[in-house]
């Protein structure tokens, strides 16, 4: 049973990690906690659902939705954050702005799709589970883990080896110096939002597939969990978000194993609180962006 539980925690953590990367990226670069991230997570899942419903195969629908999520992130920035940046508003204000956008996104989704949960009618979701010795898991879970790893590695490569990645890291480190070095701030920020929101959208699609459930409220839980993940990992650190995601996933699973399921969330929040008190930079963070 222990082995199975470890596997359970692994799959749970993969999605947390993907979601948290987007969160931490925006924070690292702009010092903003984007509370509309969970709304984009949800909208990408619905977009995929709608596309599949219209006959588009998953392999095409998902990339479209992910790209759409990225674009939506740029739109979000243009509407809710850029004007405040120009004005030099304190960090609290973009937080509120993101709450407003989250409410609007949620209202739009509810208007189009209603409050009910939707399912996919994809063959591979109904496939029988796979076994490897004492372990049981589904194809979907493998797909998710694979996607998570591929995209995380991809992001790491972008961050380390491309001009864009360097630009993002520079802006995260010191915005003014980066501007002086000739980096186009607004374009870099737009790119950051694109990447962050695309990853958030991917997390949403994978979550929707994993539990075969798309619903307007689906982002609520993961939004707060995501906070715990990035605090643990270090706000602004991508490595931290990844490792933090898996750790929190594991902690939650183990809480159940030890019979503490009522306190499961309290444990995650407790970890969050303790980290902030004892080591606010988390496991890997400085308040700049660090990569894998």
């Amino acid at each position: 049973m222990v082995a199975q539980q470890l596997v359970n925690g692994l799959f749970l953590g993969a999605v947390y990690a993907l979601f948290a990367i987007g969160y931490t990226l925006v924070f690292g670069v702009l010092d903003i906690l984007n509370l509309a991230h969970a709304a984009i997570f949800m909208l990408a899942a619905f977009a995929t659902w709608s596309l599949i419903g219209a006959g588009v195969p998953l392999a095409l629908a998902a990339p479209i939705a992910i790209g759409g999520a990225g674009l939506l992130g740029i739109v979000l920035d243009r509407i809710a954050f850029a004007p405040l940046r120009r004005r030099g508003a304190p960090n609290l204000i973009p937080l509120i702005s993101s709450i407003g956008m989250a409410i609007i996104f949620g209202a739009i989704a509810r208007g189009i799709y209603g409050p009910d949960e939707r399912q996919f009618t994809l063959g591979f979701l109904q496939a029988p589970p796979l076994h490897a010795g004492p372990l049981t898991f589904t194809i979907v879970q493998l797909v998710i883990l694979a996607n998570a790893i591929v995209f995380m590695l991809g992001l790491a490569w972008v961050m380390r080896s491309t001009a864009l990645g360097r630009a993002i890291r520079a802006v995260a480190e010191d915005r003014i110096a980066a501007a002086l070095l000739g980096i186009d701030l607004e374009r870099t920020i737009a790119a950051t939002f694109f990447i962050a929101s695309a990853l958030g959208g991917l997390a949403g699609i994978l979550t929707a597939l994993q539990y075969n459930s798309v619903q307007v409220d689906m982002g609520a839980q993961i939004e707060l969990k995501g906070l715990a993940v990035i605090v643990l990992g270090g706000m602004g650190s991508i490595t931290g978000a990844v490792i933090g995601g898996f750790v929190i996933g594991m902690v939650e699973t183990l809480a159940v194993v030890f019979g503490l399921s009522e306190w499961r969330d309290a444990i995650s929040y407790g970890v969050m609180f303790l980290i902030l008190i004892l080591r606010p930079t988390g496991l890997f963070g400085k308040r700049t962006l660090r990569t894998a």
Binding site: A80, I96, I99, G106, A107, G111, E262, M272, I277
Partner: protein
């Protein structure tokens, strides 16, 4: 006169809600005036609400003693929270206090004495409109008098530039502690009144959703203006009822108003009314 009486009879609940929400907004506004993004008001409110309800239900205390004891407890909790978070600033402080709030909610959910998820029911509705607005008036006057003291000046200084404040001898730690404790006290009074105005409380009443609401009121009204915060609370409490005719579009309108105010009236309502203060 009967027009007023009829209006009151048909809207007394809403009127009471406005008063309570104004109190909550005031409680957060104090911390915000010190530049502290301490988002645990909902938890302080919850602690007080539960203590006040338990005292009424189990020990049959009347409203005033429960209010005082409950507010004292929430103040102590606020003070206890102030210690570990004393070095945190900005978003970090916000997240830490949100985490604290969630832990308090989960504790209330799992304890027998708080009724767990089923909550506490049958709380005597002693907190009538005079009680609520009386408390609000006393708190408002108290805060106004307080704003005339030197300590209030120190608070503003800490908000503007913490290091400069320290440089001129302000005890920043004391300022942060005091503002948090004051916020805890006021939220505590609000919590006790809330319990005695709603018949029933449940842990979900005091979670992140409520905290987000209070924060939004303060931002809409003007972060540094208590009057603005109270006005923001009043406006946003009345809004869902006023736009009831918009039916399914209400949520959208809520979000849109929030966005519009944030983008175009950065100092909130207070900014619109009073223009740029020096």
């Amino acid at each position: 006169m009967t027009v007023l009486a009829d209006f009151y009879a048909a809207h007394s609940k809403l009127i009471d809600q406005v008063g309570l929400d104004a109190l909550l907004a005031l409680s957060l506004s104090i911390s915000l005036q010190a530049g502290q993004l301490a988002l645990a008001q909902a938890a302080f409110m919850g602690v007080a609400a539960y203590i006040s309800a338990i005292l009424s239900l189990n020990a049959h205390w009347s409203l005033l003693p429960t209010m005082l004891v409950a507010a004292l407890c929430s103040t102590i909790v606020a003070g206890l929270l102030a210690l570990p978070v004393r070095r945190l600033r900005g978003i970090f402080l916000a997240i830490a206090t949100i985490a604290f709030g969630e832990i308090v909610r989960i504790v209330a959910n799992n304890l027998q004495i708080s009724g767990g998820a089923e909550g506490l029911s049958g709380i005597p509705p002693d907190a009538t409109t005079p009680w609520i607005y009386g408390t609000l008036a006393i708190v408002a006057i108290g805060l106004w008098l307080f704003s005339r003291t030197k300590f209030a000046l120190a608070i503003a200084l800490v908000r503007e530039d913490e290091n400069a404040a320290r440089g001129v001898g302000v005890d920043v730690g004391l300022v942060r502690f005091t503002t948090l404790a004051m916020g805890g006290a006021i939220a505590g009074l609000a919590g006790a009144l809330y319990a005695h105005s709603n018949f029933f409380i449940t842990p979900a009443d005091f979670g992140f959703g409520r905290m987000e609401q209070i924060l939004v009121w303060c931002v809409i009204g003007g972060i540094t203006s208590p009057l603005g915060a109270a006005a923001g609370a009043a406006l946003l409490t009345i809004l869902p009822e006023a736009i009831r005719f918009l039916a399914d579009y209400r949520d959208f309108v809520n979000g849109a108003i929030l966005l519009v105010v944030v983008l175009f009236a950065p100092r909130g309502l207070a900014g619109i009314r009073f223009g740029r203060r020096g």
